[in-house]
Symmetry: C2
Subunit: 277 residues, 2 copies
């Protein structure tokens, strides 16, 4: 972690500054973006009595709508970003973060992106920059309780880190300082745990509907499986024909999947992997 | 579905019998087994004021313990099974169901197994037989609310089916008549939705612990992912780099997995499958 050097100040003075400044709340935030993450963060900040002073988005109409909801100002151009902002949160698609950061005027504010995978360094043309990553899947309309969501924070200086940490703490009880490298690993883990689990549900739904059933029959079982995995650890909680090495069921289920070589491959590979673990 | 022929009785008389007999509660149940399913079913029946009159298990000590909990009689030999039983539930490992069924004396009772994969016909040496399959993962100690658990029922006659349906309805609000064939498909879907999703969590935990984090950071995200999948359908709810066709993140994540060719294979195969869907 970088430490800033205040020149003439000795270390204890630096630390004191960090503490004092981080105690001072970030009161004014500008939101860049109007998608799911931007919307839920803006609403969350507004509810936490943080001023969302401006909202900008490539899609002006969405930005106007969001600005209205959080009683902020809609701006059509990035050049209109106010110097009064303490923090500018860039909540847009990964691949446009860097170019937008270049368009944002230099200022005393902190610029932070909300991506799980992009390096903090994407923003390093600015003086104060960092990451403000909420580890959650958002919808535009379904509101989420931000309070329990882990926020992964990173800053280019200790001071920036403290201020972003303090801002996130207004929204959530679970705020962590996480390096770009570790954040990438957390994001990768989330791909397995969430995106891939969700795809397993897609396949399950496909199998069920082809036999006239529907996915809802599995709801209690899936809920209990997830609850157990987090209670005991998934390794200990593993059940099913693969871990039991029940060859009869394994080959019978491979036969049932005969119509879909793709599902057979997945079935084989994951069953093998369960047995290796 | 089979229909029984009462010889001289016309169809309406048959139907009336079915209705009347199924209205008569099954009051006495014998449990074969003392594992997780046997334990939770016995406790559930006991709480629903059904007499669990006898308990038998290969492990006598466990059977004795369970019998005590449900105020039933422990029996050391299957030959001691009482003719008073209305139903004998065989809740044991799949591969011993058939041999145990052969050892159980013939009687007027209904014999049903609780397996997700075994055919009802495993029990066809008896007069009245069926399936009583609770679609849930059980622990011996963690009690589960049976009330919302889907019970898949099958019977060799309509009468048997009605009586098993009626018994299951004492435990749960979600009881369904399901053929052996459909039950196998439901079980296969459950392997994907639960066993394989759980393995995705195992891999996620592995990735997280290797970078000094732990699985709990993903708990809110996984819960929300599952909730969304059942609310919208998993196909619609799919997120992540694969569905976005984000080649940059996909290849970066493959690189992060370089130490584990097994995880790379899984990552590649499931990402491809998501893109095909």
């Amino acid at each position: 972690m970088h430490k800033i050097n205040y020149g003439i100040s000795p270390q204890f003075y630096c630390d004191l500054t960090v503490i004092l400044v981080s105690l001072a709340t970030m009161q004014k935030v500008t939101i860049i973006g109007s998608g799911k993450v931007a919307t839920q963060l803006a609403l969350g900040l507004f509810q936490a009595n943080i001023d969302v002073i401006q909202v900008w988005s490539r899609t002006s109409e969405n930005a106007e709508n969001l600005a209205q909801k959080v009683q902020g100002q809609f701006i059509a151009n990035l050049s209109e970003i106010s110097n009064e902002a303490d923090c500018i949160l860039i909540a847009v698609k990964d691949d446009v973060i860097h170019e937008l950061a270049l368009e944002i005027p230099q200022g005393d504010y902190i610029i932070a992106h909300t991506s799980g995978t992009k390096l903090m360094q994407e923003l390093n043309t600015h003086k104060n920059f960092g990451v403000f990553y909420p580890l959650q899947t958002f919808s535009k309309t379904k509101s989420v309780d931000l309070n329990t969501i882990p926020f992964c924070i990173e800053g280019n200086t200790e001071l920036v880190e403290h201020r972003l940490f303090s801002l996130a703490s207004k929204l959530s009880n679970d705020v962590r300082i996480v390096s770009s490298e570790d954040r990438k690993k957390i994001h990768l883990a989330a791909v397995f745990a969430c995106n891939f689990s969700n795809h397993m549900l897609t396949i399950a739904e496909d199998i069920l509907t082809s036999s006239g059933n529907n996915l809802s029959i599995l709801h209690p079982l899936v809920n209990e499986t997830i609850a157990k995995a987090f209670l005991q650890s998934p390794k200990k909680a593993q059940t099913g024909p693969a871990i039991r090495e029940d060859q009869e069921v394994l080959s019978e289920q491979m036969q049932l999947l005969e119509g879909s070589p793709e599902y057979q491959k997945i079935y084989q590979l994951i069953s093998d992997s369960i047995q290796k673990t």
